[in-house]
Symmetry: C2
Subunit: 168 residues, 2 copies
DNA sequence: TTGGAAAGTCAACAACACTGACATAAAACT
DNA sequence: AGTTTTATGTCAGTGTTGTTGACTTTCCAA
């Protein structure tokens, strides 16, 4: 990959439209693979990707409020409510009224919810681990750097919520 | 990032569940950014992502058949047909009966279709170019390597259809 | 000529998003 | 105390994108 040092000190990348298009297609096909394993598990439970996303972020931040989840997922409350209703009715998520602020609902995974989340997470992590292994150690940091730069700035803070351990 | 040389010669990566989870979330948030710009353009034309995907791959392989497009996109013919019907009715795609095999329909972009595809492509390439620029030259290869490893093997050949120019 | 593949159509359905309107409770503000 | 804002939930309607199943037309090939 050609690169140059510009006068201002910025690294300049010369990328052809073809290279960029391949990157776009890589995102498209990779995302299909990324969701393939969880989708199979979810089908068996008659749930969809929206439920997986809710389970994931409730697992990551137990006790999170509906509003917080809304801003992370970027959907309407009506859409999220439908998903949460299913998860609560299925006994996978527990919704508890806030103690400090009684308007808020704090969301937790039940034991069954945690078990399903684990099943989904293990499948998806295994795919990710395998991809990392095939791509090699150096590739992982590049992968993460490009993805982070691709996010909308307003969404990036959700990603950086929990400081990661890339440099351990 | 820690790595070791195993007896068999495989590079072993020790990745914590936390690191893998961050990779998963990075995919989630990045994909949102990845589709954000085209989505805005598509809204103005009253089209959706499915139309974008069809336009993209018809542009990449002019004259492709419906069946080929089906296997690339991984949807049912009924679903694709609805999308193609819209694109043809809107004068963005031209469907020509095959000369050798008259059952086949060969798909081409009209001038208007090519113009819209360009508009979408430029927006998405610009996002990709910016992400590459921020992440730096070394990151690009890692990004591509991980994404390629993440694809389902059956889908990877679609990606590799056209040999790319990563090593120019 | 018969069988099967390719393409298209029609109908029904489901997941998941959207808007808009409205309700309730609680917190916050004036 | 009274008003406004916030957090959540709910009802109704709509749209995109996917699914299955059934059926037809076209047409190549054994």
């Amino acid at each position: 990959m050609t690169d140059m040092q510009a006068p201002g000190g910025h690294a300049l990348l010369f990328l052809t439209d073809e290279q960029l298009r391949k990157g776009i297609e890589a995102m498209f096909f990779a995302y299909r693979g990324f969701t393939a394993d969880p989708d199979r598990i979810l089908d068996a439970h008659k749930l969809g990707r929206a439920h997986h996303r809710a389970l994931h972020f409730i697992s990551r931040a137990p006790g999170t409020t509906v509003n917080n989840l809304l801003s992370i997922l970027g959907v309407t409350k009506q859409s999220l409510n439908r998903v949460l209703r299913t998860l609560i009715d299925d006994g996978l998520v527990d919704s508890r009224i806030g103690t400090r602020d009684k308007r808020e609902r704090h969301l937790f995974l039940t034991d069954a919810g945690a078990a399903l989340e684990q099943e989904l997470s293990i499948a998806q992590r295994e795919r990710m681990r395998q991809a990392y292994r095939e791509a090699g150690p150096d590739a992982v940091q590049g992968f993460r750097a490009v993805l982070e730069a691709m996010m909308d700035p307003e969404l990036r803070h959700h990603f950086n919520r929990v400081k990661d351990d890339r440099n351990d």
